[in-house]
Amino acid sequence: MPMSLTELDAQDVTLLPERATLHRGGLTIVHQTAIAAVFDFSSGSSDTNVAVAAIVNL
């Protein structure tokens, strides 16, 4: 049986996603520690805040 237009239209061609394996973990720690450091520096708060931020970030 010849191909129908519906069958031809149903032929799939899919662009696959780039397999880019992300790693945010370490950078997130550095990034968020930088935030904590920036805020802490500006507010002049105690080391405790930085410690808490560091623990939370970890």
């Binding site: 049986m1 010849p2 899919t14 394996t21 790693h23 080391d47 410690a51």
Partner: protein, 471 residues
């Protein structure tokens, strides 16, 4: 399908005689010059067999058997009728020359597999994809570094490293010295820098784990780089060549990163034994947290790719709508999956639909407080700038302002990006303007949907903003 016919066919668009000018369609279409025909997509979650090709720009394309047959028989010399004869012989169904023309015009040319190889071709528009990517290490350097590390994926070594990792981590968490490590990091800026350096080093090792795992299976890893993922910076390694691997090879590449985190922890431990520094113990403990974060499957991190490969579905997010259609996972896409793949996609979808909105709401609720804190920080830095003249102080204040602006800008950008994606998703869902009905009503309907999405984003932000105290 007759493999012999496939095998005997030229599989490159460059196979045509260079002396013969490329003919124009419809009689003698040719694949784009550098299209590589890979073969069957091994470990696909679909019930029907599919095939893979790679464009010259590195884009991978999945094709139905008929399209694959058509593409693999196009060489710029055969006429459409001749190609149709070969396809007919291979697939056992009568295919006409006009059918080949139709497939070329409507499927292969738009996908960039036939036609001008230098033209700008479509790329997939992905949900939650990495953006603004910059290459840090080109593919050849990544290959050179990852090649000698392949031995770490030999079975007995994997078992040994895993056992050592468990032992080392148990020691780290049971030692009671982690808090001492935190104190050391906080009280000595040099220690914090050292720890930051060791963590960044672990990221590099993690990415090399992906590359080595990919290479162990026989694929060639791509470049290592950095980009922006929603609003935070993220490293990446391009493992697209892993599509050519069987399922186990792809999963090895996916999990190679966290495996190398384990290798890293085991490698750091002797230095802890020598120095006794609790900071190193903290780094070892951090590897567990990194592994856990990387295995979260809700965004495109390692856990996501592992589930994607186990299910044999390259883009899980593209199945998101199908998962919930009619409440039974019975969308047309889902029916083409094997029962196991369907179950995996369903489970992933159900967890993701719960976790991602919760994460978004938390981020939205935190946004006003973060913006106010940033403004306060900038104000304090400006105060320092205007009252103190020391070079170091000025430099620190300027750096502080720059960092605050960048980090806050990234957060705001992340919310805007997510909002725009959700608006697009809400307004594009459905099947376009109705055949019978007012286009104006359809536009109003889309506007309402967009307003609803924007409202849903704005309400938590607005509520949270009323709770923020400004000093």
């Amino acid at each position: 399908m007759e493999a012999s016919l496939l095998d005997s066919s030229p599989v490159s668009g460059c196979a045509r005689d260079p002396g013969v000018p490329p003919s124009t369609r419809p009689d003698c279409a040719a694949p784009a010059c550098a299209v590589e025909l890979i073969g069957s997509f091994q470990g696909s979650g679909r019930t029907d067999e599919t095939y893979l090709a790679r464009r010259d720009d590195g884009q991978w394309v999945e094709l139905s058997p008929l399209l694959w047959l058509a593409l693999s028989n196009l060489d710029g010399i055969r006429t459409s009728a001749q190609v149709a004869d070969r396809v007919t012989a291979a697939c056992g169904r009568p295919v006409a020359g006009g059918d080949i023309d139709y497939l070329v015009d409507n499927k292969l040319v738009p996908a960039g597999l036939v036609g001008n190889p230098l033209g700008k071709h479509e790329r997939p528009d992905l949900v939650l994809a990495l953006r603004l990517k910059k290459v840090l290490l080109p593919a050849r350097v990544v290959s050179a570094i990852s090649r000698p590390l392949r031995f770490l994926f030999w079975g007995p070594i994997v078992l040994l490293v895993t056992a050592l990792f468990l032992g080392v981590e148990t020691y780290a968490f049971a030692s009671g010295r982690l808090l001492a490590g935190v104190h050391q990091a906080v009280n000595r800026p040099s220690s914090l820098l050292l720890m930051g350096g060791l963590i960044v080093c672990s990221i590099f090792v993690h990415e090399m784990g992906h590359a080595s795992g990919c290479r162990y299976g026989g694929a060639t890893p791509g470049a290592l780089g950095v980009g922006i993922y929603v609003s935070t910076p993220a490293f990446f390694t391009d493992l697209s060549d892993g599509y050519r691997l069987p399922r186990s090879g792809r999963v090895r590449g996916d999990l190679g990163g966290v495996y190398f985190n384990a290798v890293y922890a085991v490698a750091v431990f002797p230095f802890y034994l020598i120095t006794g520094s609790p900071l190193l113990l903290l780094v070892i403990a951090a590897m567990v947290l990194e592994v856990i974060e990387q295995l979260m499957p809700f965004v495109r991190s390692d856990g996501y790719w592992a589930i994607s490969d186990l299910a044999g579905v390259p883009d899980l997010f593209s199945y998101f709508g199908s998962v919930f259609r009619r409440g039974q996972g019975s969308g047309p896409q889902m029916t083409r999956l094997t029962p196991t793949s369907r179950r995996l996609v369903m489970i992933w979808g159900l967890f993701t639909v719960i976790v991602l909105p919760i994460a978004l709401v938390f981020a939205l609720l935190a946004l006003p407080a973060l913006v106010v804190a940033s403004l306060n920080a900038i104000s304090d830095h400006v105060h320092v700038l205007s009252h103190q003249g020391g070079t170091a102080t000025v430099a620190a204040a300027v750096l502080g302002i720059a960092l605050t602006c960048i980090l806050t800008g990234a957060m705001i950008y992340g919310v805007i990006y997510i909002t725009s994606r959700l608006v697009r998703l809400a307004t594009n869902s459905g099947s376009g303007p109705p055949r019978h009905g007012s286009p104006r009503a359809w536009r109003i309907h889309r506007l309402l949907r967009a307003s609803l999405v924007i409202g849903a984003i704005a309400v938590p932000v607005a509520w949270s903003a009323t709770q923020v105290r400004v000093h």
